[in-house]
Subunit: 474 residues, 2 copies
């Protein structure tokens, strides 16, 4: 190990190999996950500054048979980017690789390094009068390499897709320390297997993404936000269909929020003045992006809302009059997780089922949970446009949070995941598997798919040195 550390220092410089050799060094920023569910201990945190350095670090680790945990902004939610507690793993942080290598406006692409922070990329695009549409809560600190390796979702998927849909090319260091030069802004390239999508979403278990060429879009001329009250989840699904039909690709956001979820925002952040939630079981936040003008966007929105009101798929609606008001509405939506935390401990799920089956799924599962664990409170909200719900469960009112979690977490997860399986859904819609759900996968994933995944992992990383124990167990 001493030899490896010397080698790593020679490769990336002393300042970029951090270890516990000095007991005063605090590595918890790299060793603890964002939700503080795991605190590992690394052999070293290594911070290469270039793709060639990444490749050399991998080769050195392979030679020493030391496993590697790639890490970006370390904001993941499934414990996928922190080391285990053995003190034998190298954390390979991509944060220093944060150069925008090229922006090609006429091709609507930019090529960026893995360590670029998402929000910085949004701003780079904006300065070129373009849009990079990936947007999610952690955008101020997550990195694009992490977004790619987890295929992050977010709030604009209904229009622009997940991260994989925004990616046209990759540069990847393989498990053997070879560099695949797969960058480039081609919209069409049918020269062989889709390696790009294989690495995207593989959570650093098949290779290390060091750079990517990503799609850009023209900036919409206007963006409008509406907040609506709907009489049921069925109505919300109908509203979604109407919005698809009338707004077309203008529909860039469609978020549903249950009454109890909004009541928590109202309770803990009353200054936000959440609208319309008291008289409706669900509210829906819609965003309309228009390539023409603010006036046209408003007219389109009004046409949609009128039709929906006539057909009784919504009971009331407000359209934000200004950008500030629109931001405030989004802020209410984004305050739900914070309000949940204020209310106490809770159990989070990130599930998806086909959009058409969401109402039946919720009706059945809500009733099931109430029956099995009386008093549980359901904090249901999410990206209905993608069939993706954060179907969270809060302890009964006044219950002891830790005791509740301890007693019911396993049971609740099983109840929810089993229901998801019955509805042909996914137990991880956008957060990934990491180590948190790796043990669940064999119960909920098609066995042939699991076998294929195992064959691929074995084939590309036969020594199991890249992020072992994540996504798929050997």
């Amino acid at each position: 190990m001493k030899d490896l550390l010397s080698r790593l220092r020679a490769l990336v410089g002393d300042a970029h190999v951090l270890t516990h050799e000095d007991p005063a060094t605090d590595l918890s920023a790299w060793e603890q996950d964002w939700r503080k569910r795991a605190h590992g201990r690394s052999l070293a945190v290594v911070r290469p500054g270039s793709t060639v350095e990444v490749a050399e670090v991998v080769k050195a680790c392979v030679a020493a048979r030391v496993s590697i945990v790639p890490q970006g902004g370390n904001t993941g939610l499934v414990v996928g980017s922190v080391p285990d507690d053995t003190g034998t793993q190298v954390v390979l942080s991509l944060r220093r690789m944060n150069v925008v290598r090229e922006l090609d406006a006429a091709n609507l692409t930019f090529t960026v390094e893995a360590g670029c922070v998402l929000q910085d990329l949004q701003e780079v695009a904006e300065r070129a009068d373009l849009l990079f549409p990936l947007s999610l809560a952690a955008e101020g600190s997550c990195t694009i390499g992490g977004n790619l390796s987890t295929n992050a979702g977010g709030t604009q998927v209904v229009r622009y897709g997940n991260t994989r849909d925004l990616c046209l090319g990759l540069e990847v260091v393989t498990a053997q320390g070879e560099i695949w030069h797969g960058l480039g802004g081609l919209r069409k390239d049918n020269t062989g297997y889709d390696l790009r999508n294989l690495f995207v979403g593989s959570e650093g278990t098949l290779g290390i993404i060091t750079a990517a060429t990503l799609k850009l879009y023209p900036r919409p001329a206007a963006r409008l936000t509406a907040w609506t009250a709907v009489p049921s989840l069925d109505a919300a699904v109908t509203l979604l269909g109407l919005a698809h039909q009338q707004l077309g690709a203008g529909l860039t956001g469609f978020e549903v929020m249950g009454q109890f979820a909004l009541s928590l925002v109202d309770k803990h952040f009353s200054q936000l003045r959440v609208p319309l939630w008291r008289d409706a079981p669900y509210c829906v936040l819609l965003e309309n992006s228009d390539s023409e003008s603010d006036a046209h966007a408003r007219q389109q929105f009004e046409r949609l809302l009128e039709t929906a009101l006539e057909r009784e798929v919504l009971s009331d609606a407000v359209v934000a009059e200004s950008l500030a008001q629109a931001k405030q509405l989004w802020h209410m939506r984004e305050s739900i997780p914070l309000a949940q935390a204020e209310e106490g401990l809770n159990i989070k799920h990130d599930i998806s089922v086909p959009v058409s089956r969401i109402p039946a799924f919720c009706q059945e599962t809500d009733a099931l949970l109430q029956r099995e664990i009386p008093g549980v409170r359901l904090v249901n909200f999410g990206h209905l446009g993608d069939g993706n719900l954060h179907y969270n469960v809060q302890a009964p009112e006044g219950a002891d949070g830790p005791l509740f979690l301890n007693s019911y977490e396993e049971k609740l997860n099983s109840l929810v995941f089993d229901a998801v399986k019955r509805y042909h859904g996914s137990i991880s819609a956008e957060h990934g598997i990491g180590s948190l759900k790796v043990g669940k996968l064999p119960h909920y994933k098609d066995p042939v798919a699991l076998a294929l995944m195992r064959q691929i992992k074995q084939s590309l990383d036969p020594l199991n040195l890249l992020n072992p124990g994540r996504v798929i167990e050997p």
Copy 2:
């Protein structure tokens, strides 16, 4: 072999195992490719009627160590779906599996079997007042299984992406005859490696796609087509940027056509009355799909064309007044390959480079070809919105076609492909590799990518029984 044939007959029924045992049987529909570049000889053509039958056929072939050539509509352009001439391969035709298993309008998806003909699927969608946007010349006879396995492109990629972008789930029979049940209409599912995209575009070399869940879209309220004359390729690229900006996702088609290509249409199909081509080096066909109304689409189009005229990025334009006129304009575009055939033998390329580099690529490569082979005539047209050109070469006027092909095909291909490589482009944008380009790949593809492809092929099909010799050589 006798044993295998008996086994296959027992599995799928006598009527669905066709062989040369009866010398009168003509199997050329299955043994010859669409462009008649290859005529193989099969051991048998087997036509299973269900996924379970496909799996059993694969198992029987594996047991006998007989290789399998999966086939859909057999309209591919790179000799990827016909057997070799050894008489030892089984052609596995998916054509009998042509059921639309489910259409879920609220989820905007349908689940269809591999043998469904593309045009039939477009019509199924239309009857449900929805749009399945994949559209290409062979749509009347190609099957969706073939489209998926080759990741077909077509004319609406600029808005809806390639076939892989339309696919949400797959059912696949593996090289071992196992069935992966990966259907389902989820927009988000981050539970492991992206197997779907690995099989899509793998040309039947990794598994056999038997069914898919595909995206549907609301039908646009209006679709308008314009034909414009542009002063240069640079201007065409600028026009594309303007169209992206002003039409947003309304831009559903953007085709460029060189003057010589159009002159051939005019020469051989003068009754079509191609507009505007005489005074401009290039014409561009644009399509605008609008979710609002015909009037709005027209107004948007006129705004765009006025801006473009003012900025001198186009010199003239006509907007189709009716659906019939629009069809006629598309028909002219689609007549280019036919006019080429009328003119005589020619050499076809299906290449892509970043959109921004198209003008420089063409200028350099046009000049290079003229220099190297005086008198060659360039038939340049294609999906400029995707950076994809059908950069074809016609023999010099009056030249002996077969002699020209014989003398120059290799040299011309090398000149074009080398230029593509210098521009970081693709030697096969939308047609795939098949056996036609498999020998070229090692010269034009990143060596690490090739090694990864080989590892994956070896891992999923270790006996090399699925479409051997296509895409990647062992």
